[in-house]
Subunit: 217 residues, 2 copies
DNA sequence: CTTCTGTATTTTGTATACAAGTATAAAAGA
DNA sequence: TCTTTTATACTTGTATACAAAATACAGAAG
């Protein structure tokens, strides 16, 4: 009956996790830097117990490394780490694309096309931030069309690890143009429900991402 | 100088995580059942703080679900969950196979062939348990030959989720024979360093796994 | 001046106490 | 008899106190 009450129903744990995750993604907590418990718990206004539990989930997600008896650090990705993530992500999204063509409804496809057109608008207006946000959603939603929960989970996890790096790598304007072109190809294939072509376009998009990103590592 | 001392250097956290994980995989903690903190901490001889931290990492790994204010349960997989895991695992191992052919040394390939032959020995002796253990290692090691850390991590995670189910599904003897044949095909392709063929063989192996397992869900 | 060693300080790890929320069951009302 | 209410026990969530380990530092020996 009352639908508005449930919104604040996130546990403290989840809140701490996502706040610390944001600090990492935004680069406020720098890769490789030590995470000072006492400072952060004061800033977040929580006590050590829930904070340390949050660190454990972030560690399992791969964003943080807990060194026994000597604290935690923000995980720092090597060049080869990032390459390996993109290699896997490319294949996962390729699979997602193929499955999406087989399993998504016309309605769902149209919604994604609409999202793509919104992104085009931001691109033309040179409005980087909302484009970036919608881009994340584009990939998540396309993956969701695969109707494969495990695939979505793995994609989300790698996406989270790459978020910070991607944000840095997309600074150059010509890189942006290339990314938009890739998306265009993906949308064409999706409309035609050509799974092989969509899969290949998505894999190509990820390979291009590596080219865009690799020099900043 | 002293190499033997480091072995016991696992943190309490890691110990609790792997002990509870084992309890889940072995089915002592049944899927869907509530995890009673007070009982388990007594059994494990640890206090609530480290135990709850362990639950958080197990939750992030996907083996446990923490329901806010009402405890934790062992995650229970639906039929479609398992299908989606195998769908993803199939593609990941396909990729692993292709990369292994491109990146593994002759030495590494020979080691894996040797492992395969050990498995054949256990199969012929009808010795199920050691075969099962080596099978896990076979897939892990083959994936490791891809030299892709992210791929290994994702494979390990899905493998852990499936472990319990796989163990149940492999009860039938004719299923076992099929699995051995699949491995034979993989080894042939690996020796020839035929990436496409190895990838296809691994994907096929996973599809066969689904056929073996699906009826017990 | 460097290196080693012992002590002090800081930080992390674990246990426990207290608070808050949830489920259970008995009692009151319909 | 069935529903609703309310009291109680139990479980979980959070804070804090204590223990243990690591780090930093100062002084002594080489």
């Amino acid at each position: 009956m009352n639908t508005s009450i449930a919104i604040t129903n996130r546990s403290l744990h989840d809140q701490v996790v996502s706040r610390v995750r944001d600090l990492i993604i935004e680069g406020i907590l720098e890769p490789g830097s030590r995470i000072d418990e006492s400072t952060l718990i004061e800033e977040l206004g929580v006590s050590r117990t829930p904070f340390r539990e949050a660190l454990r989930t972030l560690a399992a997600e791969g964003l943080v490394i807990v060194k026994p008896s000597r604290g935690s650090v923000v995980r720092k990705w090597t060049r080869s780490d990032v390459f390996s993530m993109l290699e896997v992500l490319g294949h996962l999204e390729q699979l997602a694309g193929e499955l999406a063509c087989a399993r998504a409804s016309d309605q769902e496809i149209n919604e994604l096309v609409a999202l793509h057109e919104d992104m085009l608008g931001y691109y033309k207006a040179n409005d980087r931030m909302p484009y970036y946000k919608l881009n994340q959603e584009f990939h998540s939603r396309l993956t969701a069309l695969s109707k494969n929960a495990t695939l979505q989970e793995m994609q989300r996890n790698i996406q989270a690890r790459l978020k910070r790096i991607r944000y840095i790598g997309n600074e150059k304007p010509d890189a942006w143009a290339g990314a938009v072109q890739d998306h265009e190809a993906m949308i064409v294939a999706l409309k035609a429900k050509d799974g092989k072509k969509l899969g290949e376009a998505m894999a190509q998009h990820i390979r291009n991402t590596w080219d865009r990103v690799k020099d900043s590592l």
